[in-house]
Every structure is written in structure tokens, then in C-alpha cells.
């Protein structure tokens, strides 16, 4: 198995999601936010020559 960086919340519901939070989450969330804001949001234009 190639372990990923993504927390596995397969068994986690909305009800207990927020109870899961802990120190480890802060780091993960900070990384998620960095990735989210640093990445190109729209993958447009990779078809033909449409540039955004």
C-alpha cells in the first residue's frame, strides 16, 4: 500500500467529525489550505488553445 498524506475519514460522520480534531489536524489543515490556495483552480485551456 502506498500511504497517502490524506487523513482517512471513511468512518467519520458529520456528527463526529468535529470531535476528531486535534493537534495533528491543525498541521494537516494548514497544509490543505496552502495547497488549495496555491494551486490553479480552473484547469481550463488544456484543450486546444483557450487561455484564461
Amino acid at each position: 500500500m502506498i500511504e497517502s498524506e490524506l487523513l482517512d475519514l471513511t468512518g467519520v460522520s458529520f456528527e463526529n467529525l468535529r470531535a476528531q480534531r486535534g493537534l495533528e489536524w491543525d498541521q494537516i489543515e494548514a497544509q490543505l489550505l496552502r495547497k488549495l490556495c496555491g494551486s490553479a483552480a480552473v484547469l481550463a485551456g488544456d484543450h486546444n488553445s483557450w487561455t484564461m
Binding site: M1, I2, E3, S4, E5, L6, L7, D8, L9, T10, G11, V12, S13, F14, E15, N16, L17, R18, A19, Q20, R21, G22, E24, W25, I28, E29, L32, L33, R34, K35, L36, C37, G38, S39, A40, A41, V42, L43, A44, G45, D46, H47, N48, S49, W50, T51
Partner: protein
Amino acid sequence: MTPVGSGGEDPFQRHRPPTSARAPRHGLPPRHFDALAAGGGGAAVIAHLWDAERSHRLLLLGLLMTMAADRSDAIGPLEHLDRAWELLSEAERLSRAVTDDLLLLPETGVWLQHTLRRLREDGVSPDEDQPLWVDTGQLHLIAAASAIRTGLSFSLRLPSRSGTVWLPSLGRATLPGSAGSGPVQADFDGAALTLRHGGETLHVALPCRQAALGWQPPTTFVLELPEGPKEIHLSDLGPYRIFPAESVAEPSPSPGEQADRWGELLRHAWPLLRRADPQAAEDVAVCLRSIEPLPASTPFRWHSATMGGGMGGLAASEPAAVEPAAAAQFAAILTHEIQHSKLSALMHMYSLHTQENRPRLYAPWRDDPRPLNGMLHGVYAFSAVARFWRGYVLSGGAPPDEAALAQFEFALRREQLLRVLPPLGKDRELTRLGRRFLGQLAETVSDWADASVPKALVGEAERVAEDHAVSWRLHHLAPDPSLVAELIEHWITGGHTGRPFPRGIPLQGCPVPRLVPDPTARNLDARAVLTRMRLMEPALAKLRADPERLAATVEGARPADLLLVAGDATVARELYAREISAGPGPAPGGGAVFHSTAGAWAGLRLALDSSGGHRAAGLALLRCPELVRAVHRAIGETTGEPADPVAVAAWVGRAAAAPA
């Protein structure tokens, strides 16, 4: 949709209470990672991606709750986000399938991405035309939609936009007498929804799949799959789209006709994809959830897009009525965009590259330099496009009038991938997994020598790929200024009489040219589009008969391009040379105004290549076109006399061919 949370067991039994141990991570068996990297996947592998995507969305949702918790502007006139969360939790207890379905809508991912950015920017987005609570209040709308779908009564204030309330997956309510944004009181009694705002009331009996006064359900299409029908939504009603509509209340001019056109397109494209590339069809079937319609484009320039956070959603322009091979082209778009979705989900799990994201790389399908992330997406998406056209050729599914186009498209995409994959695989910003990913993809592409494509079409594809690469260099690379100065001096002191440059210039262009992105670079594929039209005659013949239509039909094409592609290289060469001598401005022969002569230089190279006998000039214009242009321009500026572009190119070419 692929069910998330696999297995028949109660998923809540697998809930792990918080412990001090390291929290578990998602993972993929190596063979699944490699299957994805090789361009495929299949239902079982993509089920892993959906499972991971659910975790990703939950994390983002938790993050949104944390970031919005203490902000009064994130609540506004609505109930606290905790109230919406409670309703969502109650609905989840009744049906996790329903809440997961809403959580995994493409628009939910788009919303999370948009709203988290807005929260992070901390109110410094002056362009936002809606108060923050209208965005955060999407949680209330998701909770309300979950409750309605599970039959759970509730009373909750919901945000409206432009007088409408969009309930994801259910429909859009238009409130009587209301046009702005504001809170709307919603009451659901298990069967009917009542919305109240400013003394006006709207009742909707739910579920309501028919349009009614004040109610518009989403348009759905059905894909017939072996395991049963699957619904795909037309994403044209909600506010969280890949390309947000200017006004969500703005109705489509003829929604019924539009829906019919999309439905017909899917009906025609789907069997083609299944026959040409069953693997891709399987991936599309388990991934695709919604199609966002965009305005029609021009022939062979079908616009399409995906958003990294919106797995399963794609945006695409409607085909124009005269779009050649429309169903096959749309099948290629489906598999192209679903590759983006798969890779985005994989990148939520793994880092394939460092955070370095500078636009610096050549992409054969783009006008602009791309960051590494965009390159990974590009090669992955176009590998699927190549695979589709290859399958279309090999399966014999292409009708006779589309066969040449299919062969050309396959040869072109393979050629482009073979050009960029080797250097990309060595990029220093790739992680170990990124290198593994590209290695698998390169193996797939290198195995595609079997589709028999006539030699002439392979040559055509190579010329088109070269043309784009040359045009891109002319736009975005600047040669070493000291070399340019040295060349000019020698030209003035004897080069113009034929005296050779005293030393050889290394073929790859001297000292390495610098990247200076040209933000005005557009339509580098103009001659490629004309080539496609020639392969789909009478499309090009019609254009030749009515050249006034050129600028509107193929934006960025010059009259010389039309002549060149139609076979008149001699006149085309004269027009290109005239444009180069005149500098940026109107193209000789009429039509558009150009900001740059880059396209004319690249066209001149092709015209010389077609007419033969210009080896040195052709070599220089292929290997270091930016140097030839810089020298030509500087000679004109220094002497006041424009030099013959072919003579300058040939002179630089002879230096490039001489021993260094």
C-alpha cells in the same frame, strides 16, 4: 455514482475514537497507483479516489467551520452554521447515501474552494458581489437539500441570490417580487417546502422534477450503462460553477432546446467512447456527475475545463451547428476532462511535485508557459485524448469522412506527448511518486506505435507540432543580447554580403534563451485548426471561397495561413515576409490586426519548408527562431533598412550549421 464508504457494514461502526496514535491515512495499492498513472483506472480504482475525495471534502468542510466560526459576517442574518451542521447530521443519520451524494457534488467542491479562499483572504476581496454569509450559507442550503431528500422536517433561514434559492440537486426557486440577496425563511413539513421573503410566499411540493411557476429542476441526462442508467446533471442553475454565471437568475434563452442539444450530443458521443476506449468509458461512467454548459465556440476550438476541487464536474462549450465530427470531438473532451478529475483527486492524496508553481514549461497544447502542476495535468489529459483517437482509428468506428481527422489527431497528440514527456520526467521539482507517475505514463505513450497512420498524416502532425513549438519560442523566449549584438555587428560589416559569421552557434540556440512570457500570445493553433478543416473538407474549401469569414471562423489566422494550408506556399511566403518587414499591425491580405510578428515568422518557416531549397533558413527558424527575429529586428533598428527575413534566417542558419 460510485458508492463511498465501501463494504456492506455500517460505516459508523468503523468510526475510530480520537487516540494519541497517528491518524490513519488513505492509501492505494501500488498496482492501482500505477494503473492510474498509466492513464487508466477502472471502477474499483476510482472508487478509492471517491473514498479519498469524501475525506478531503470533510476536511475542507471542517476547516470552513473553524475559519467561519467566530466571524459575524459569515453568519449575517442566518442561523449559526452550527444549526445547519446539526440538520446535516440529522439527515445523515437517516441516509448517509444522501448526505454523501450532496457532499460529493462537483459544485460542493467548487463552493468549498471558493469560500475557503474568501475566508483566508479575510474580506480583502473587493470584487465579491455577495456578502460572505451568502457563500458560507451554502452549508444551510446543502443541509436543507439533505433534509428534504431524507424527508426530515425543518425550519431554517436560507440565503438567496438575485431573488433565487438554489437547493443543490433539487432545483432553483425564484421568489416572487424579489431580486436581491437576503435571508429567506424556509419551512419543510416532510412533503412541501414553503419559502417566505418580504411578505411573499412560494410553496413547492417536493420532490418536484417538473418546472413550475417559481421552480426550475435541474436538467438531467441518462447514460445507459451495463449496471443500469446513470444520471448526469446539466449544471446551469446553481451559483458554484467552474465559470460563474454573471447572474444566476439569468435564464437560458431556450433552456429546453439547449438541454435537447446536450442530450443528443451525449447520446452520440457515448457509444463512440465505449467502442473506441472502453477503459475511458468506464472511468467517465464512474466519475462524471455534471456538465456545465458554456457558450458555443468556433470549429475545432471546443472550450472545456475542470476545476481541481470539483471532481466529476466539467464545463464545455456547446458545439456550433456546423462543428465537424462533433460526437467524436466531444467523446475526446469527456475523457480529457475526466483525466483532470482523476488526477486532481490523486493529487489530493499524494504530492507529485513540490510547491514550486512558476509558469516556466512548454506545453504543446497551450499558448502560455505552464507550471509543473499544469504540465502534469496536460500530459495526463492529452494521453487520454490520444488514446481515444487511437481507439477510434483501430476500432474502425470512424466514418470515412472522419478517418483522416482521427488519424491526424492521434498522431499529433502522440507526437506532442513524445516531445514533452522525456524532459518533464526529469524535472527536479517532481517527487519520487511524481517521477513514478510520469514514468508509467511515458511507457503507455511509447507503446502506441501500432496504430497505422499514413505517412503523410504523420508528417502533417509533426509539422503542426513543430509549428506550435516555433511559435511558442517566438512569443516567450528572448535570445542572449550579447550574441544578438555580435551578430548584428558582423551583419553590418559584411554579413549582408554573404560573409559568414566567424564561429558556429550551437544548434540549440546559443547561450540558452531566457523565458520572457508574452501575455498577448494567442491562438498559436490557428494553422492547426485550418489543417483540421482541410482534413474535413469541404470546410477549408468553403473558407477559401469566402475568405472574409476567416477572422471570425478561425481567430488568429492570417490570409497567408489560409493560403499556406491550402497549398499555395509561394504567395503565403510573400505575405509573411511583407508582414515581418512591416512589423506588428494588420495582416497583409486583410483580416485581423496582430500585436506580434511571431505567427508570421513561424508561417514563413513552414512556407520555406514547403517550397524547398531553404535548408539553412529553415534550420535557424526551427532551432532558434527567436534569435533570427531579434537579429532581423535589430538590423532594421540599426540601419534603418529592413533586411530580407529569409536572408537573415539563412545567414544565422549557416552559422548554426558551422562547427562551434
